[in-house]
Symmetry: C2
Subunit: 203 residues, 2 copies
């Protein structure tokens, strides 16, 4: 394995602790201790826990956000991207689990997050428009795009919380079911071409 | 106006402060001060802020949960109940806004909430089954019930957070749009009878 730079090591250790416990239970002292590092050395790289959360959020984005030219344009590509995204969301699960709390603690993160979430809504819309243009989706009215985009955002951001408020222990498999819910919402609008492609993938 | 018992007065003052600021910014001292009451008198009625949040949650439930026999069974009744529910959710908006945080602070509230949310999911399913039985909904598979029930829960609980993460200031009107999203999800399954009834309501 390649040697990680100190910053990367700190982020990896913090991510592990945040996922296992929560961001409040894992202090910068705990993170430093997990690495056998002095708190002073950690603070040289990150001024506080908020800075670590912010950096992990940026890391998650760098792994999940696609450039417009790379957005999926077939139902198979959508399906594959969802499987990939489910892994990223699981790897950074503390973030969606504590989403509103984290945003309330750091105005800078909140501003950044809102900007990115609005861009995400735009990207989702482009994907649905491409699916329509390529004969996968039959969208009778413009409202359907808005409806489906809201569904994707609700599931991407709050499926974790949804499971938790039903007393379901979240694991990688049931977290991925949020994407099944998105597919269920799209189903009435999928064309025969889309249904055939999906059936072929799932055999 | 009828004179409110002291307990009711405390709850009303707390609800106002929780909605205006948030539960952390509004301490029991602030709530007592808003009523011109001594902190000791407030603590005689509620041992801490968590007890006030718990009581407000129960109050919200008493205003929104329907007995099984009273659950809507026509599309008009569903629509009317949604308009009513939107007012209750707005009146108690601090609760959904801080949902996951509040549950993390009070294990007793979390247990109570999960039990009620599971019961809510059951009630939603009964409503959809009644709509199907009464010719309003055409549900080709059992999966559709699950799909729609999850949509209702996601919107009932997280529409507030969804708006916030898009940088939208939440008001009574856009909070009620969460019910429009639910109707949008039902739309592909509504029968001609249901669409006629809805069109008549909205004229």
């Amino acid at each position: 394995m390649p040697r990680l730079a100190t910053k990367e090591k700190i982020l990896a250790a913090a991510l592990k602790l945040f996922n296992e416990k929560n961001t409040q239970a894992a202090t910068t002292n705990h993170i430093a201790a997990a690495l056998g590092m002095s708190p002073g050395n950690l603070h040289y790289h990150f001024k506080n826990r908020e800075a670590i959360v912010f950096a992990l959020y940026e890391q998650m984005l760098s792994k999940s956000v696609l450039a417009h030219a790379a957005l999926p344009s077939t139902i198979t590509q959508v399906h594959e991207h969802q499987i990939y995204l489910a892994k990223v969301y699981w790897a950074y699960r503390f973030f969606n689990r504590e989403l509103l709390f984290l945003l309330s603690r750091d105005p800078e993160l909140k501003t950044r997050y809102i900007k990115e979430n609005m861009a995400h809504k735009q990207r989702i819309r482009i994907v649905f428009e491409q699916l329509s243009a390529n004969g996968y989706l039959d969208t009778p009215t413009d409202d359907v795009y808005t409806q489906l985009a809201d569904t994707v955002l609700l599931c991407n951001r709050f499926w974790h919380s949804h499971l938790e408020t039903l007393g379901i222990e979240v694991d990688e498999a049931n977290l991925a079911e949020g994407f099944g819910h998105i597919e269920g919402a799209m189903r009435p609008y999928l064309t025969a071409k889309a249904l055939d492609e999906l059936a072929a993938i799932k055999i």
